[in-house]
Amino acid sequence: MTDVSTSAPRVATGVGGSTLFRFATAGSVDDGKSTLVGRLLHDSKAILADQLEQVARTSSERGFGQGTGFDFALLTDGLRAEREQGITIDVAYRYFSTGVRSFILADCPGHVQYTRNMVTGATTADAVVVLIDGRKGVLEQTRRHLAVVALLRVPHVIVAVNKIDLLGYDEQVFADVSGQVREVAAGLGLVDVHVLPVSALEGDNVVDRSPNTPWYDGPALLELLEALPAHDELETEFDAFRLPVQLVIRPQGGLTPELSADPEASESFRDYRAFAGRVASGRVRVGDRVAVFPSGIETTVAGIDVAGTSVDEASAPQSISLRLADEVDAARGAVIGGAGTLPAGRREIDAELFQLDGRPLTAGARVLVKHGTHTVQAIVASIDSRRDLDTLADEPATLLETNDIGRATLKLAADLPLEPYEANRHAGSFLVIHPADGATLAAGITPG
């Protein structure tokens, strides 16, 4: 029986300084994903009384009577059509926090369009939680989920072996499934994989460690989510500096009133010119030598403004305005990077594509490629292969259909500073867009 009572949220009052962690869920139908998400939100006190009351009311109207608890899926299926059909249509974003971290959960539907939805949820994720029904072990679906996670280079993978209560909390069964998971993960080159036994229904090892699994000495799911380093925490220090230029700030439309009221300030800002953007990777300091793509011109960082404050240095993922010592040509679409670190531009890409649109992608198609802040025309020169997600082998193909993952060669109308996705999530990813209706046709990454 599920406890529907609620008490004060777990989050401590007035505490600043928590970090942000983004994760996505993946699981097949009936693996218990909605229950796990509902349990996580409920036990971490992220569900408030009025939401719970509404779910309890709808649950009882739907026949979840006495003794059967309530339908956790109603917490996560927000659309009318979803509740009517009992299916999850699209990714939903949920928020909860503990004293340590704020979490953004991309709750991805498990079936039908699994690849498309998983790609959507996983591109920004620091971790993906893949659910397995412990009674069934590793299925084809699990292999596919793990393959997508591996291709998208999600930093951490958490495999929750669910329904451990139905297995009598058996250590050997968990060890067997865990062994299968590790074998598949090793084959995919996944590095940071955590496997844990849970019961979403009973709450074992979800928020707190369970007394029912004394043989498991690892963390509960929430403990793990609180402890794993986020993507930016992991990589910032080591990556080369990259700033895709969003726009140039030259206050020709007028200074902000507080500055224009002051003659001295308005004089000192008259020639203000800065390159605004979000640091995609690395760190930049005043005095650093930088180069501009595509011109290749080098100059020095004269100043960095972060949201209206001058600072000595900035790092990913801050939004900054960069002032340069020389008047260089760098409009939207340019990339500013550490001197000597920028890649050569590419006119042709051998890309890995995740096909998202219903219309098949074929050779000869005219498309747009959006990379960072630059959108260029492109032609699909050839479709080279399609990946069989069960065997993970590449097979010959002439088109890519919805949910397919395959290789294609794209010819670009302008040079783009593409880098291997493996080395840099931002510099190695792009969108393929339909030039007429603007639909996002595919997500692309540049292989190493």
Binding site: T19, G78, Y93, Y95, T256, S268, A307, G438, T440
Partner: protein, 314 residues
Amino acid sequence: MRAAPVSGERTAALAQCGALDALDVLEAESIHIIREVVAEFERPVLLFSGGKDSVVVLHLAAKAFWPGKVPFPVLHVDTGHNFPEVLAFRDDTVARLGLRLEVASVQDYLDDGRLQERPDGTRNPLQTLPLLDAIAAGRHDAVFGGARRDEDKARAKERIISLRDEFGQWDPRNQRPELWSLYNGRHTPGQHVRAFPISNWTELDVWRYIEREGIELPPLYYAHEREVFRRDGMWRAVGEVSQPLQSETVERRVVRYRTVGDMSCTGAVESEASDVTAVVAEVARTTVTERGATRADDRLSEAAMEDRKKDGYF
């Protein structure tokens, strides 16, 4: 170079130690979104009601384009049932930042018969038509809003850049996937996008940010004594458009507002939180959602928000 008078010490300190906290990351993401929209669209506009969420978006926009001024106008859909304090705050803010204010007036539509008053008196659903007309009249191709995904289960499904058709409709079953931080705002003539820079913020994030940045809000957000009466489990303010029935008793209570929408459907909560620190503590402890506590119109049906959004509501 002079620093702007905003959170300087904190930003500098964090930049030095290299650790960004959750609010810094959310702020950076929001500024990125605001700049993308300004760079890629011709005629953006911000929906500005004087409520805390749109005030925060405007503050973020001021930071995004500093030392330049905010490069777009603001639009208020005025239901005619607004709190006078909020309208005054709206006008002060617009004047202080030197912005242009566009107003779409529901009352004008009622006066000339294009809209009719609802029997329950709420005007929130009536905002959609004036909003869509104002977007068309201003030829706005991008409309910023302060909506957050934690507000409602339908909003939890909406993209940061949300494409709307020529009727302003949202089609939740046919949304563009949103990948990495590559926002695709391409649209055909007649379509526009709604852009939600603080999608990923929660009510508590908003309040912590207001505290950290010292952002000014209408006084309604803080505890004050006022004449109220109980209806549908909420405290309604007594006002010109919000009169008690004979069976309802008027009392003086110490209350504050968690949202400041239309007076005819927005309720107050009993609260002693008279400053921002106390409000942050109260929001962190609350066991009721913002909308559940104070919005009568969302109680009309389980999918009230979804249905309004499909029609073109923000």
